[in-house]
């Protein structure tokens, strides 16, 4: 798998986790279930470290698309971008082939990964 793509998926997951930590209802639910939630600053630090592994132009695009759509990365199934449901004009026939290179959806701009 392309290293930048892998780091982008982790970044998106991490951003979702941080976003949940800012949702009081979710925090209350988790605490009521018995889980400790007290290390937000560690996640923020981990995010900063992760960003250093992503080229600035890619990170800037990630931020722009995330601001616009909520998520900057979308899965592809049967050559359909599951972010905007547009067919990807490509000959990619396997997950391995699709995830070797960093690609954007030509329609919505989301980074794509093949599932």
């Amino acid at each position: 798998m392309n290293d930048i793509l892998q780091n982008l998926v982790i970044l998106q997951d991490l951003d979702e986790m941080i976003s949940e930590l800012n949702n009081a209802e979710i925090i209350t639910q988790q605490e009521e279930m018995g889980f400790e939630i007290n290390g937000l600053e560690k996640l923020t630090e981990a995010r900063e470290e992760l960003i250093k592994k992503i080229p600035p132009e890619v990170f800037n695009h990630y931020n722009r698309v995330r601001t616009r759509y909520g998520r900057a990365i979308a899965p592809v199934r049967e050559n359909i971008c599951l972010g905007c449901f547009i067919k990807i004009p490509t000959q990619i026939s396997s997950r391995e082939m699709g995830n070797q290179v960093l690609r954007n959806c030509e329609n919505c701009g989301r980074y794509l990964y093949w599932v």
């Binding site: 998926v9 982790i10 997951d13 279930m33 018995g34 400790e36 990964y113």
Partner: protein, 155 residues
Amino acid sequence: MILQQFLTFFDSDLFIEDFTSHTKKDVFKEIANLLETTKKIFKAEIIIDLLEKREQLGTTAIGKGIAIPHCRSMAAEKLTVIVGLKQEGIDFDAPDQLPVKIVFVIIAPPQDVNYLPFLGKLVELLRDELARKRLLRVKSFKGFKKVITEFLTNE
């Protein structure tokens, strides 16, 4: 969440009767590798990284020998649950300091609506002392599913 739906999330292919790993870090690797091998996720390293980051928020061990590492990830196509056992226990930094003998790992894609209801139902089950004690003694997927079915049927 009703019993039948709850049970559908447990899969014999994702039941580890005895972790070969002895540490939390290695358990996460073992779980993620199983998920990649069974094609439940597309890259083990993503899940390892995420589970470790989730632990930084606070341990997912809830005491009495049980841990429930859980997170949402785009690496998963649907809600996926792995159950693993370790008779001698694993140090999970549990609040009661007891070693963890049964691990439930829950991974869900960002949009999955069953994630929190499933987690809630599982915690509810594990709060029952008798259910918990019986689950801590199971050795196989068949025995595990029998205990869960019996307890939730009698609710």
